[in-house]
């Protein structure tokens, strides 16, 4: 399990990286290498050139406005976990980062790399889909912003062009009253999730947005269920029935186990955010 021979370059700017990618159709972008590394060793990826983007200053930049946090693509999960970059409120990003794989993976793995790879079982994909985040992509034709929910087209499939680079992710900050519930079911600690449930609830705006992740493709976004009203005794049960039927119509009904665990993670995420 050793990789094929390849060349290695480490560009200093985004522009340089994009021109190298444009000139080398067999090149692969190396960020944290936590997925690409094993794929190289297993020879599932056999690139002629690795383009290491981790030393590009622009890709570790953080921009913050009153409403939006923009994190450079090469910011590691560990930086987020440790609070070395700002959060969007309620320490949501740090909490989710802490549950990604193992610390060794978090020390090298990057938020941009994870999103570009678009593994359905990855945490950022589910969480940031629920938060309506945008990716900033840089390609030959310049920079563009793509909502994450349209960026991902299937399991490990995106609308990223071969010479596109994910530059940053733009995450809306949480409204003051908003709460986020996040739950995942893994066979063991650090393992890829079999089901991820995210609930974003804002009582002030009376909005509820749910995401079921690790569903084999792009996350399932459910944003047309009304949150139960305070004091409504069977509100939560009704809400859950709606969730279950949405999951079924999204194609999860055929497998009783899949339906059960995705319903369970969403229920637990809801329990975190809905008033008792």
């Amino acid at each position: 399990m050793k990789p094929v021979s390849f060349e290695y370059v480490r560009p200093a700017t985004v522009r340089e990286a994009i021109s190298i990618l444009g000139a080398n159709p067999d090149a692969k972008i190396l960020a944290g290498g936590q997925t690409l590394g094993p794929m190289l060793n297993l020879r599932l990826a056999q690139p002629t050139l690795l383009v290491d983007i981790t030393r590009i200053p622009q890709l570790v930049r953080v921009d913050e406005t009153a409403d939006v946090l923009t994190l450079g693509a090469c910011i590691t999960h560990a930086s987020i976990e440790d609070g070395r970059v700002p959060d969007i409120g309620d320490r949501v990003l740090a909490r989710v980062a802490r549950g990604i794989a193992y610390r060794a993976v978090r020390s090298r793995g990057t938020i941009g790399g994870s999103l570009a790879h678009a593994d359905p079982a990855a945490d950022w994909l589910s969480l940031l889909s629920a938060l309506d985040a945008c990716l900033l992509l840089h390609g030959r034709s310049g920079e563009r912003a793509v909502p994450l929910t349209s960026f991902v087209t299937g399991p490990m499939m995106t609308d990223l062009a071969p010479d596109d680079l994910v530059v940053a992710v733009r995450i809306p900050k949480l409204n003051r009253t908003a709460r986020i519930g996040y739950n995942k079911i893994c066979r063991k600690t650090g393992d890829f999730a079999d089901a991820i449930g995210v609930a974003v609830y804002d009582p002030e705006r009376k909005s509820l947005r749910l995401v079921a992740g690790s569903v084999g493709g792009a996350p399932i976004v459910i944003d047309d269920i009304s949150p139960p009203l305070a004091g409504q005794t069977d509100g939560r049960a009704k809400c859950l029935d709606s969730v279950r039927s949405r999951l079924q119509s999204a194609g999860l009904g055929a497998d009783v186990y899949e339906l059960s665990i995705h319903t369970a993670t969403l229920q637990r995420a809801l329990d975190e955010v809905l008033p008792a």
Binding site: R187, K188, I261
Partner: protein, 791 residues
């Protein structure tokens, strides 16, 4: 650590910190992968991509033909044969590189050499193998059926061996008012030591020796096997097992890769290295454990086990592995299945089935883990049928202490123990009554609590008579130790077994210290090198504390006699008047330390009288237990689990082990063995599974697919020791290295079934995965309660 021991005792019974940990914990161990030799090249193997087929052609590009070797190149190399003399056994011939047919995915076809492993893998990629694929025997029951495709064409069927035991079964009477029948499957597993296999082979022209560094538990057996396959005298081969990163049975087998590298290193005059990678380990190397059972158990109305009737099948894989053979698992099932119980009627038939999978190998607990699962889960089902506590059925049926030593219904000779006491302690420790109370009240979080028990015994250090009856390539006889004082008065112990996690560098030092009084820092254990150590069948079967411990004691006893002779001369007194105590020979008028005696013997012989005994301070002594049928350590495991029926999540809330390993040489090391074994047992119970598709393709090729429990999956394990000495061993010690891995699948399954019994759910498979729980819960629901299927 056991604080009951007197603080000054550092001999037998003391929790002495492990001597070997200093280098391991500092990362200073030296493993095969650390061996660096001038001009050493790396090897990668081209392996079969199909499970079963005929090789039509191997096309090797001309520019690499000289660094690629296939079967036809291996002139003068014999295949591996691991036959038994059991009646009806069919012999398999395992080629070093596949010839004619391939019989499992991963079987080596070509050996490729390059300066680095990456380049060797480049060679592998460039070779084209044309194979006419044949139907794969991917399932042992299908392989057993008439008309199945054949792994070995000339056999006529796929049965390595069939065995049958019948002890008075037909006499079963109407007193057997209750019976249950259950069918079980245990997954194929893969042993996963931290370090995989690895070989560095070189031909040393000065000494005329093939020197093989191998990550093995059995250096002397590997030497014998290599000599047979390569046609060399054993003296022309030296096998060195340096630090070995975990064995568990996987390092107790002669590999085709070892033979191939030995041949090529000699042929090319160039050191060669092959380090197994994890994909090879998972898909082509370390298979174990896959069993199928149909068990019927009978009880009387007053809750006593009366009879067992069993048909067991083991998926043995394609070849009989050297030296333990293809039948070590199935062949032992008949004798293990009665467990710790005393009952009058018994019948058991077993089948060792050849399939298109890698050869099945012995893994910690060998056969017992599956057998314990089949028996103990059946007993819980029987208890439910009787409407009594599973603990009560066991208590009614266990062999009683006053029956010891006891010959059981399968002619196994239990040496000593108090099984009912172990059960009582486990029931008390786990708080059975409290758990039952909690179950009646229910859980506020919707989970269900269950409690499960399992008991087993572990035959250890069984020797000549047992293995002679098997007639496999290896029969253990007398275990030997060379003990010698060095001129500075330090002590060397040389053994042919190997220590790779068992802590023998510490425990054998404790044995020697107890006899000779030499301090631990002056005792060195030499092991893992056929050139430096006496012959041994190696480390397996939980035998080392019994056999190597006995041999160390025998050699040290003889050294003590010689020390007393020389010491008495130096003290100018009669040998009858001296004694050896606290590291000194003590006479009526003075004392002399053993180090001074050694220094005098080697470096100041002028001080010895003319009539001194000439035999010296170096001894090789052999040892066999008083009976070679083995010791039987035993344990009761009890576990409490919480199960979430809707998601299949299982949390282990409490886990207790009551273990009797006879006299414990080092209780701390024993605790470590138990905890490590239970971790592996939890893997068997809940995580580990190597699935195959219908074409015989292994479906888990990384640890992302083959799940092992990690530290966060481990509960805190509470251990209680009983110490019933074995009447047959030197210090009353019993072997217990494997036991921890035997009972967890049974205990955890019983606990899960207990938790889910009110839902009508019973799981009879390992591992019990969340998916299996959810599907079983769903299947047990009454029709009306099932959610509507999606449109």
């Amino acid at each position: 650590m056991n604080l009951k021991n007197k603080p000054l005792n550092v001999g037998i019974g003391a929790s002495v910190p492990r001597k070997e940990d200093d280098r391991y914990l500092r990362g200073q161990g030296q493993f095969v992968g650390d061996v660096r030799l001038p001009r050493m090249h790396d090897v990668a193997f081209l392996r079969s991509p199909v499970a079963h087929g005929c090789i039509r052609r191997v096309i090797i590009p001309d520019d690499i033909r000289h660094v690629v070797f296939i079967a036809e190149d291996l002139v003068g190399v014999a295949p591996i044969r691991a036959d038994t003399t059991l009646p009806g056994f069919k012999s398999s011939v395992q080629p070093i590189l596949a010839t004619g047919k391939v019989r499992y995915v991963g079987e080596p076809i070509a050996l490729c050499i390059a300066p680095t492993r990456a380049e060797a893998e480049d060679h592998v990629q460039r070779i084209v193998v044309e194979i006419d694929e044949l139907p794969a025997i991917h399932d042992m029951l299908e392989g057993r059926a008439a008309g199945s495709a054949l792994v070995h064409d000339h056999w006529g069927d796929n049965l390595f061996l069939t065995t049958a035991i019948d002890a008075n079964f037909a006499a079963l009477t109407a007193a057997a008012t209750h019976k249950v029948t259950r069918e079980y499957r245990t997954a194929r597993q893969v042993m996963s030591p931290l370090e995989g296999r690895g070989v560095v082979a070189q031909w040393d022209s000065r000494v005329g020796q093939l020197i093989v560094h191998s990550s093995t538990q059995q250096p002397h057996i590997v030497r014998s096997g290599l000599a047979e396959c390569l046609g060399l005298d054993e003296g022309q081969i030296r096998v060195i097992a340096p630090d070995v990163g975990g064995g568990f049975g996987y390092k107790g087998v002669l590999l085709t890769e070892e033979v191939a590298l030995g041949w090529a290193a000699r042929k090319l005059g160039m050191p060669l290295r092959w380090l197994e990678d994890r994909r090879e380990n998972l898909t082509a190397g370390a298979d174990c454990r896959e069993h199928h059972y149909i068990v019927t158990a009978y009880a009387s109305a007053d809750g006593r086990l009366l009879a067992l009737d069993c048909e067991a099948t083991v998926d043995s894989g394609a070849y009989s592995a050297y030296p333990f053979s293809a039948c070590l698992e199935a062949g032992q099932i008949g004798s293990i299945l009665p467990g710790l119980y005393d009952f009058p009627h018994y019948r058991c038939k077993t089948y060792s089935v050849a399939t298109n999978k890698p050869p099945i190998l012995p893994y910690r607990g060998v056969a017992r883990t599956g057998v314990c699962f089949a028996l103990e889960v059946t007993l819980d089902a029987l208890a439910r049928e009787l409407g009594i506590e599973p603990a009560a059925l066991r208590a009614n049926s266990l062999v009683q202490p006053e029956q010891m030593p006891f010959d059981n219904i399968a002619k196994r000779h239990f040496d000593s123990g108090d099984y009912p006491e172990a059960l009582r302690r486990a029931v008390t420790m786990i708080g059975l009554d409290k758990v039952r109370g909690r179950q009646r009240n229910g859980e506020t979080d919707g989970r269900r609590i269950g409690v499960g028990l399992a008991m087993y015994s572990e035959q250890a250090g069984h020797g000549t008579s047992v293995y002679a009856a098997w007639g496999i390539p290896m029969v253990p006889g007398y275990e030997q130790c060379t003990a010698r004082f060095t001129p500075d008065g330090a002590l060397e112990l040389r053994i042919g077994a190997h220590s790779h996690g068992q802590g023998l560098e510490t425990t054998l030092s404790q044995v020697a210290h107890s006899i000779l009084g030499v301090a631990h820092d002056r005792i060195k254990l030499v092991h893992g090198d056929t050139a430096l150590t006496p012959y041994s069948t190696g480390t397996w079967g939980s035998r080392c504390m019994i056999m190597s411990g006995g041999a160390v004691a025998a050699a040290c006893d003889e050294l003590a006699t010689r020390l007393k002779h020389v010491g008495a001369k130096l003290l100018q007194t009669a040998v009858a008047d001296v004694r050896l105590q606290d590291g000194a020979v003590i006479g009526p008028r003075g004392r002399i330390g053993v180090a001074d005696i050694a220094r005098t013997w080697y470096r100041r012989p002028q001080d010895l009288p003319a009539d001194a005994d000439a035999s010296g301070l170096e001894v090789t002594a052999g040892y066999k237990a008083k009976r070679d049928t083995g010791t039987f350590s035993y344990a009761a495991h009890a576990v409490v689990v919480a199960v979430t029926p809707g998601t299949g999540e299982v949390e282990i809330l409490d886990y207790v082990v009551v273990e009797d390993g006879g006299v414990l040489v080092n209780p701390m090391i024993v605790d470590g063995q138990i905890i490590g074994g239970v971790a592996q047992g939890i893997g068997t119970a809940l995580y580990e599974e190597m699935p195959y598709d219908t074409r015989g393709q292994p479906l888990a090729s990384t640890f992302a697919d083959y799940l092992l429990p990690g530290p966060t999956e481990m509960p805190n394990i509470r251990i209680d020791h009983m110490e019933t000495p074995s009447p047959y061993t030197r210090f009353g010690q019993k072997g217990l290295g494997e036991g921890g891995a035997i009972a967890p699948p049974a205990a955890i399954t019983n606990a899960i079934n207990d938790a889910l019994s009110t839902l009508g759910v019973e799981l009879l498979v390992s591992p019990i995965t969340p998916r299996r729980i959810v599907e079983a819960v769903e299947a047990a629901k009454p029709r009306s309660a099932k959610p509507r299927a999606a449109a």
